[in-house]
Amino acid sequence: MKPAPFAYLRPECLQDALEAYADHADDAKILAGGQSLIPLLSMRLAAPTMLIDINRLTELSYVHTDASGVRFGALTRHAQIEHDKRANRAQPLLRKALRSVAHPTIRNRGTTVGSIVHADAAAEMPAVLRLLEGSVTLRSHEGSREVGAEDLFVGPLETSLAAGEIATEIFMPALPAGAGVAFEEISRRRGDYALCGAAAIVQTDPGGAVTSVKTGYLSVSETPLVLDLSDAFDDGELSQTNLTGAGELASAAVQPETDIHATADYRRQLAGVLTKQVIEQAHNHASARTIGGSQ
């Protein structure tokens, strides 16, 4: 058998899961969709002595949408959010980015909360959480706390979750009126982790002038990176000059590394090109929403 032996618990409710995790906080791991954890176990890159399987905690399988944004639980699969119409009307960046998370078959099992707390800087949804300034609810035997995206990601595959804490819910803010979003990535094959990916949120005022531009990146830094590029558009125009300036700022700000898939220089160039693309697309999205009055 590929994984090393482990003890297995499958609680039926969150309270039981929290108690079990409190008792074994140092040696247990949470098993959500398993789409990142099981490969690590099979390659023996991880060998926890206990797994706490949360797949029976159906109370954590939901997508709730209201005017403020979208909340989903630890058992909500990527595919559930991708196909939730209300959620994507409130925050269209969810589907735009989820479509690039692995393949549909992986998205049927993997959870978005699991992906975010796995904190891979090459993953889409941690970058989306950072860009949208969302938050995560952490529960432990002792209580509950809310952590903002900027405080969640502390290093490669490392978060500020304490021992014994389960991420129970993620909140993604709704897209404000006059704003637009876009997502693009370059990967070697569809469904692979991206060589570089970028998302943008562009805010316009009722007259159509650009008031704020923020971008988020994957695969070009150790933790999900967000840049505020509003200064490049200080005349409020989405001109080619301003776009070029924004692309140059982004290329200079990312910290990519060379690996077998791409050189750092190539990723840096992609970051610049993708920055221009997503800002332009997000701006078009904002204009279309303003005219169409909807998504």
Binding site: F6, Y8, Q35, I38, P39, A102, H103, T105
Partner: protein
Amino acid sequence: MSDPTTADTDGETMHHVRLSVNGATYDIEVPARRLLSDAVRQDIGLTGTHVGCEHGVCGACTVLVDGVPMRSCLMFAVSAEGQEVTTVEGLGDADGSLGAVQQAFKDCHGLQCGFCTPGFLTTITACLRDNPDPTREEASEMVAGNLCRCTGYQNIVSAVLRAAELQGAGCATKPEHAAQEAQA
């Protein structure tokens, strides 16, 4: 807390797992680390499910869990308890003849060595349930998560369209289109 019945052998805890596969019930004793793919092949003896990469990339091991395609190499058998698993052996018609997707693969030469085929068949079966009348583009999207090293994807995509045609949905809207694709 649900704690499946356990027994000790060689110091490792064994779990009694009742799996429902292709409508039949199987009671097996496995350690928690037994992958669903290995349980189906070794403990149950249904070797139609193939194991290629064992880390989620190739798609050969794809089975349906409650009708939804999932990688059986990325699930533990214990976790599948209480869910209905469908493997390639469960895709045939009740009378033992080939199911529509299987027949389409035969018609369109959608396989050579056949190693990848079980994963394609399960995936396509579920996808056609959601979208019974795909375009060629959508058909190609359906199989994008499965790797084939020898047939090439043209015939596999044609087989998706042919399967849709065999299942009846394709005929009403675009009969020539699907038939041409099948010959391509």
